[in-house]
Symmetry: none
Subunit: 132 residues, 4 copies
């Protein structure tokens, strides 16, 4: 658990570090790579592994706890919540998906990618992961 293989900090990503970390953890939980009840690395471990300020990691953990994604047992550690909280309905609504998808397509085009190539690449990655 000391190797945070579920998080890749990307210096070309303009989003703040804490957002990248939170996104990585949320995604790992959502996809089951971090199963319910699994223990997360300690704040210090993760901070050292990612070469990041410990405060930054602590901020992420506390936010995740507020949202019920993880649970902290004092003196023991931090664990993926047993009951994964249903996200606020609004966020996963059909409309939210459409908006998010539209924005992503726009972003891909703005970066100079062919949108068709981009979607094809997404499918490839999804398939590869299933096989693995």
């Amino acid at each position: 658990m000391s190797s945070p293989d579920f998080i890749r900090l990307d210096s070309t990503d303009s989003s703040p570090i804490y957002v990248q970390i939170e996104r990585g953890i949320r995604a790992a939980v959502a996809t089951g790579r971090l199963p319910k009840g699994a223990q997360l690395p300690t704040v210090r471990e993760l901070a050292v592994a990612l070469r990041v300020n410990a405060n930054t990691v602590a901020k992420v953990y506390s936010e995740l706890e507020r949202n019920g994604v993880v649970e902290t047992r004092r003196g023991v550690g931090t664990f993926v919540a047993e009951v994964v909280p249903s996200l606020p309905q609004e966020r996963v609504s059909r409309e939210a998906l459409r908006d998010f998808a539209a924005r992503v397509l726009e972003d891909a085009a703005a970066r100079g990618f062919s949108r068709e190539d981009f979607v094809a690449e997404l499918e490839t990655q999804l398939k590869e992961e299933k096989r693995a």
Copy 2:
């Protein structure tokens, strides 16, 4: 030209306003919705239409000019560049596409979307646009 239908400011998007505007314009140019040589709305027009400070729009235009996406003719206006510059090689490389796609998938999962649903939605949107 006075109706900036190619830009939607999204308050749920955490990226700064000027990034959203820039992304919208770049995408419109890349997909041909803003053809080469077309005049962009004036700084002030777009500022009013988006309810944004004129400096914010001006910042976007000047960045786009720096990158050769648009050309400004002094005292005349801003136009889509006749020769749209090939983006720096690095950005459109195969590797860049993979990284971007991976990040997007992660983001989708972190937001609580099923990645399969998400990719399906992307395809739907692409097809709809072609038909239109």
Copy 3:
């Protein structure tokens, strides 16, 4: 780092302040006076030292970051990039050098300088710097 000895604002120079600052920093980086990894003065420091608005300096820093000349570490400061990007090929091409040189010669003549005197002065300055 608090004394911006690598920048001289020249009121007889018609180019905008932010261009002069950017040129100074780029030159300092290119010639090694600002070595890789070195910290630049903070935005506010440089603004005070040059008696310029902080936004003006911030604009320069952000342009330099966009071009990969510097890296900003959030909440920490701004540093010369470890890998200084090779300028877009076009700019350093032989042709670009010819054009730039031609323009400079023209400018010197237009200002009333003998072009021979001017080139001689350039050589003198280059030699002096090497000796120092």
Copy 4:
């Protein structure tokens, strides 16, 4: 005289068009390519040739006339002044030359050119012109 071969508008030059034109004419006069008494193209001719607004050319001519570089004979045309005015002493002073040279070297470095290559190129161009 309808082909303004002594002026090259450079879209990569950030200085305003009227400055570029004025610089070109001043340089042509200073180097003798436009000898004393020679007739300049008419405002309209030059405007058409350079694809520039006639007002822009007119502005240049009137400024050059104010400075005594050219003379306008009503109904006849515009001519290089017989007595080339000595520029204000300050501009051609030794100190001004040093400052200008320093700025040029800085600019060359900032553009990614080796300053040695740059100075060598200047010499080459000077020699070539003499031979021609």
